[in-house]
């Protein structure tokens, strides 16, 4: 189990006569990811979801807060001894084109992490070969075809599968998939999602799915949790189906309302929420971060900061003074 408590991260832009601007990427985020569980972070670009994924993969530092991996608080360890813990969390990038070295065959790409693994566990060269083939089969590729090839000889979907196989070489506890399907062709996307779901079932790997596409988050696991993040703050969180079917935060409702409706196949939700345009983020902190764009804001929203809770008796947690269910999601009109 991996938990985070009050994670904050501020990026300081260099330059400028007055020392540059500060961007608060994360403003005290709490999360819990169970072993074998599925958690999805959704939100727009710049909301901090990618930063959180990078922190978990050990690629980014955080300013304050605590991450506990299987009961071990990371703050109790020195930088060097944290690494083996973070290694159990592997990141899958958005872009499988740049995640693989174009000058190396897939065989070579898998060889490097496998030889590290072999050294750690005292295994032989033959084990590495066997393991490479095993992992490629596991992700649905034909090892004989893929191993001798270079990344450019494979399709986007195949490359992403190779990246997943490579992440699995170190026997991770968790995969962080950051927009892992957004650059894959539509007809191949579902295959990657199904693979991630399958890995949860077969290997007990937990999946942290970072995306702006809510429907794909649902596909990774109906038993999972959805975190809606706005400007570095979790504004709504709960079971996937609850947050999608009964969202109470106006930002979640705006996100769901913005999903294109397949007219002819679907009927749009009746209470779609359209927020006003994004505004300058230099707004004071003692207010709801979404207030400036929110069509339902009141006096209280601009003078007080809402915190995550179950106000109004909702099943999910939310950070809104005026939680209200709205029917925003399109419903199927015909069955294919």
């Amino acid at each position: 189990m991996i938990t985070g408590k009050g994670i904050t991260k501020t990026f300081r832009q260099r330059g400028g006569m007055l020392g540059g601007r500060e961007v608060k990427a994360l403003r005290g985020v709490d999360f819990t990811i169970e072993k074998g569980g599925a958690v999805s972070f959704i939100g727009e670009s710049g909301c901090g979801k990618t930063t959180l994924g990078r922190i978990l993969a050990g690629l980014e530092s955080y300013d304050s807060g605590e991450i506990v991996i299987d009961g071990v608080p990371m703050s109790s360890l020195r930088q060097k001894s944290r690494q083996p813990h973070f290694r159990r969390i592997q990141l899958i990038h958005q872009d499988p084109y740049s995640a693989l070295n174009p000058a190396r065959t897939i065989h070579q790409a898998l060889d490097a992490p496998l030889s590290l693994r072999a050294k750690q566990t005292g295994r032989s060269r033959a084990w590495m070969e066997e393991r490479a083939e095993e992992l490629l089969s596991l992700v649905g590729l034909d090892p004989g075809y893929v191993l001798p090839r270079y990344p450019h000889q494979l399709s986007g979907g195949m490359r992403q599968r190779v990246v997943i196989a490579r992440a699995l070489t170190v026997d991770p506890d968790m995969l962080v998939a950051d927009e892992a399907t957004s650059m894959i062709d539509v007809s191949l996307r579902l295959g990657i999602l199904a693979l991630l779901k399958d890995l949860r079932d077969r290997l007990g790997v937990s999946v942290l799915f970072i995306t702006h596409d809510v429907a794909t988050a649902r596909y990774i696991g109906l038993d999972g949790e959805l975190y809606v993040i706005y400007r570095g703050q979790v504004v709504e969180r709960g079971p996937v189906e609850t947050v999608i079917a009964d969202p109470v935060h106006p930002y979640t409702q705006s996100l769901l309302s913005a999903i294109p409706v397949l007219h002819g196949l679907e009927v749009p939700g009746e209470e779609r929420v359209v927020p006003t345009e994004a505004v300058d983020p230099s707004q004071q902190d003692a207010a709801c971060l979404f207030a400036a764009r929110c069509p339902f804001r009141t006096e209280r929203c601009v003078s007080e900061l809402p915190v995550l809770g179950h106000d109004g008796g909702t099943l999910q947690e939310h950070a809104c003074f005026h939680p209200q269910r709205r029917s925003v999601v399109a419903t199927p009109a015909v069955q294919l």
Binding site: D185, I244, P260, V261, L262
Partner: protein, 358 residues
């Protein structure tokens, strides 16, 4: 359908268009024998995966296919302009921008990072011999204001000062400011956030209607087409495999590829196991089958005839499907396409579409 009274919206008739790319393996067709009509005043969406030929098709509208590619056959007739395939030199240069506006994919990389938007606007005006430059700036400002931005501020900005959604709107402004009434938008919302995407799609729709345009939207995202387009054309392996009114095609897809694509989209409600991946992968330029149906390798209803026989082009009312297995009912008109030559495809081949507009 939104046929406006504005007579300026031009119609476009693409007939038997083929585009080939020269490769070490010979000339390979990226687009083959396409017949497509853009009805004046409508938005047509062309949807396809990577390698389907949709961007090549869009470039053909400007006769802007770059070597090693070339238009090998067919014509693109634009009202008031004639066949753009036959245009060249200065005629072609003037037509681009004046008659056909093009909004490029990734507007951030099509803007000059060193110049303000206003300076680029003036460059555009000068290169098209616009005499009334202050008038052009005024028009640009009102277009930007119309799209919900502070026009004066945007014109004074460099591209890095604008967000993705704002850049996309600048791209739309630059495509419209010379008063083009045929607009091509290539992946207008890729790399934009959901909420920004919804805003841009609404703006495209509104500007289209207010200015009386004929619009072509190229995208990989069926959702985008579903939101904006009156008509939809689905491309696969360089062919249009199905076309018709958007709602009808989405509600009752008749080509196995369209059906498979729709089933492969995860949905927000209902049984998630209903979503099913399409087996196989899209063909690339080198692997598009030369004979028979381009989709057969991934098709669930494939038959022997699909291996060798060119799929018949079936027309019923406003709908057209190219499939051996499509059931268009008793009224369907079957027009078996003639055998096409393999590499320099589509020469002398004129499958009729008999398209009727509702």
């Amino acid at each position: 359908m939104s046929v406006t009274s504005d007579k300026r919206a031009p119609g476009v008739r693409i007939s038997d268009l083929s585009v080939v790319y020269r490769t070490p393996a010979g000339e390979l067709p990226a687009v083959r024998g396409i017949d497509l009509e853009l009805v004046p005043g409508t938005i047509t969406g062309v949807v396809g995966e990577s390698g389907s030929g949709k961007s090549t098709l869009a470039l053909s509208l400007l006769n802007a296919v770059q070597p090693p590619g070339r238009i090998s056959a067919g014509s693109v007739e634009i009202d008031g302009l004639g066949d753009v395939v036959a245009l060249g030199g200065d005629d072609l240069r003037r037509a681009r921008g004046r008659h056909v506006g093009y909004v490029f994919q990734a507007a951030q990389s099509s803007l000059n990072p060193l110049k303000t938007v206003g300076k680029q606007l003036l460059d555009l005006g000068r290169s098209h011999d616009v005499e009334d430059l202050p008038g052009l700036v005024k028009e640009a400002r009102s277009l930007l204001d119309r799209m919900g931005m502070d026009g004066a501020r945007v014109l004074d900005s460099h591209q890095h000062e604008l967000s993705g959604g704002m850049r996309q709107r600048v791209g739309i402004m630059l495509a419209l400011v010379l008063n083009a009434h045929l607009v091509v938008l290539d992946e207008p919302t890729t790399a934009l956030d959901m909420i920004t995407q919804a805003t841009i799609l609404r703006i495209i729709r509104e500007v289209h209607e207010e200015r009386g345009l004929t619009t072509l939207v190229i995208t990989h995202d069926l959702g985008v087409v579903a939101e904006v387009a009156d008509r939809l054309a689905v491309m696969y392996g360089g062919r249009v495999v199905e076309q018709g009114p958007t709602r009808e095609v989405l509600g009752d897809p008749r080509h196995p590829y369209t059906r498979g694509l729709l089933q492969a989209i995860p949905r927000l409600v209902g049984d998630i196991d209903e979503a099913r991946a399409l087996p196989g992968r899209p063909p690339t330029l080198g692997t598009i089958p030369a004979d028979g149906c381009v989709f057969r390798e991934r098709c669930a209803v494939r038959m022997d005839v699909c291996e060798t026989g060119e799929p018949p082009v079936l027309t019923q009312g406003p709908r057209i499907v190219a499939c051996h297995a499509a059931d268009m009912g008793p009224e369907a008109v079957t027009e078996p396409a003639k055998e096409r030559q393999t590499v320099t495809a589509g020469v002398g081949d004129t499958p009729t579409t008999g398209e009727e507009q509702a």
